[in-house]
């Protein structure tokens, strides 16, 4: 783990939906400027964990800290916490009745009470940064999936968040559009953004993450540097998960699997 005090600390977090317990005591930390890739099968609780961190779901047990302060105490106003975090959703969740620029500045203007001119200037600059200049006035449905997801990234980034939570941001995209979105995430990483990245893209996790955490049946089974977790996984569950991904990759015609250093070849 990189040095410095953790920005996000998750301690013993439990979350159930009715009878179904999705998270059973999750522990993990994200240090400043660090990107943690959260991997695991569908239904392993990745999205739920991210939603809990942004207080979109209420946790049942444990605590989550942001910059050393507990955010999951009932006395903490969730709105104040959410203003310090940014979320990018799998399905983009852009506001369809607003222009691209309005999507990006809504939080700035309404939540952070920024002036319109200032917010729009920043919004335009952000859109340009993610390759969307000229699309400011378009409606989200006039954009490709990759462009929409880049707008969503700009929207989450516009609030100058302490950390970004990325929830499988490429899973809803056509394969040829994945690259442009990953490029935007790389840009954020090189800008030093602290991030939690729930992903199925192992190549990308290996490239951009400082740490990989494998979530299995609501627990972090293994975490560590990408080479270790993806290359020489210690836990049996991690090995099985990676082997399944490899098989799926073969079934789709990827010759040697979709990430380097897959298990068993190191």
């Amino acid at each position: 783990m990189a040095g410095g005090a953790p920005v996000i600390e998750v301690k013993g977090v439990t979350k159930a939906f009715g009878e179904r317990e999705v998270l059973h005591g999750v522990d993990f930390d994200v240090a400043d400027h660090e990107a943690v890739a959260l991997i695991g099968a569908s239904g392993s609780g990745k999205s739920t964990l991210l939603r809990c961190i942004d207080l979109l779901e209420e946790i049942d047990d444990g605590d989550i800290f942001l910059d050393g302060e507990v955010i999951t105490d009932p006395s903490v106003p969730p709105v104040a916490v959410r203003r310090k975090l940014g979320v990018v959703f799998q399905a983009y969740n852009l506001f369809p009745h607003m222009s691209v620029l309005q999507n990006v500045v809504l939080g700035q203007m309404r939540a952070q009470k920024a002036g319109r001119r200032e917010a729009e200037e920043e919004g335009r600059a952000l859109l340009a940064r993610f390759g969307l200049e000229g699309r400011e006035g378009d409606r989200p449905d006039e954009l490709s999936g990759g462009q929409q997801q880049r707008v969503a990234i700009a929207r989450a980034f516009a609030g100058k968040p302490r950390a970004l939570l990325l929830d499988e941001v490429t899973s809803a995209l056509d394969p040829e559009l994945v690259g442009e979105v990953l490029e935007a995430v790389r840009d954020l990483k090189s800008a030093g953004m602290t991030m939690v990245i729930a992903t199925h893209e192992m190549t990308f996790a290996r490239e951009v993450a400082d740490e990989v955490a494998f979530l299995h049946e609501g627990r972090i089974v293994e975490s560590g540097p990408p080479q270790q977790v993806l290359g020489e996984p210690r836990a049996e569950e991690t090995r099985k998960f990676l082997a399944r991904l490899l098989e799926a990759g073969r079934a789709y015609g990827d010759d040697e699997g979709s990430w380097p250093g897959r298990p068993g070849t190191a």
């Binding site: 942004d54 959703f89 939080g107 939540a111």
Partner: protein, 284 residues
């Protein structure tokens, strides 16, 4: 191009198939138009013949479609109709606002609003569940009977109140359906950029909900526009009431036909607007 022609079936030059298809399309269109015209003549002509040759037709023509009666009654029926329009406009505006308030109360989950939420639910259940004509009657005769200072006594106002109660029940349910139809992800996204619950409702959920329910809302306007005639039972001289007075004097129903035509002048264009919104891109 020559290559394409060489391999086209039957060795015909490029473009010939297109001409054949267009000719076939035109022939089909002509045939369809002919069938439509013929069947119209048969159906409409048949119905007209049935009515016009019925034994009572001469009497009906005299008592329902008398030109002199029409000319005689129309100006006053039209005057009465202006009252309908005024009541409609005021009631519609009140309904839009009150129904939205009720819908917002009903979708709000905050515990402090619990009693108000119960009241809103009862409001909708009761006023939507009672026939509008009974509400007009009960409000129109019930409120004045209280003999309280400051309560309205004008039958027009009382009728308007009854219509407002009834329609706010319906329309609040339309709004509520719209609000509930906005995807959960929209709320998540709005909250995640730091908006409060209230801001999320105002800037993200409501604008989408209202766009979506615009066609059913307009549909309820059409219904309300017609139901304004119900206030006639407590006395106001609106179009139907005026027409009834004429009818009572001369035992001729033509003034009622005149009133019906006035309603159609308003409701048919409204219906076309509803069609258009429902058909193309009503949801955006």
């Amino acid at each position: 191009m020559t290559e394409a022609a060489a391999i086209s079936p039957g060795d015909r030059p490029q473009g010939e198939r297109r001409r054949e298809r267009e000719e076939a399309k035109r022939a089909k269109a002509r045939r369809n138009a002919l069938i439509a015209a013929l069947s119209s003549v048969i159906v409409i002509g048949g119905l007209a013949a049935l009515v016009l040759t019925s034994p009572g037709w001469p009497t009906v023509r005299e008592t329902f479609f008398s030109w002199s009666e029409f000319k005689n009654a129309f100006p006053e029926v039209l005057d009465g109709f202006w009252l309908d329009i005024k009541v409609f406009m005021v009631v519609e505006a009140a309904v839009l606002v009150i129904a939205l308030a009720i819908a917002l109360i009903r979708v709000n989950r905050s515990p402090g609003l619990f009693p108000v939420r119960i009241l809103a639910t009862i409001w909708v259940d009761v006023f939507r569940g009672v026939p509008t004509v009974l509400l007009v009657y009960l409000v129109g005769f019930g409120i004045p009977a209280l003999e309280l200072e400051g309560l309205p006594t004008s039958p027009v106002v009382l009728g308007g109140i009854a219509l407002t109660l009834s329609y706010s029940g319906y329309v609040s349910e339309v709004y509520r359906a719209g609000i509930n139809s906005v995807h959960r992800g929209q709320t998540d996204a709005a909250l995640s950029v730091g908006l409060t619950q209230t801001q999320t409702m105002r800037h993200v959920v409501l604008p989408q909900a209202i766009r979506r329910v615009a066609p059913p809302l307009l549909n309820d306007f059409v219904a309300l526009q017609k139901d304004v005639a119900l206030i006639s039972i407590i006395g106001p001289q609106e179009a139907f009431r005026v027409a009834q007075i004429f009818q009572g004097e001369n035992f001729n129903y033509t003034p009622i036909i005149a009133a019906a035509m006035l309603y159609l002048v308003i409701t048919i264009p409204l219906a076309r607007i509803v069609d258009r919104m429902g058909g193309a891109g009503g949801v955006r």
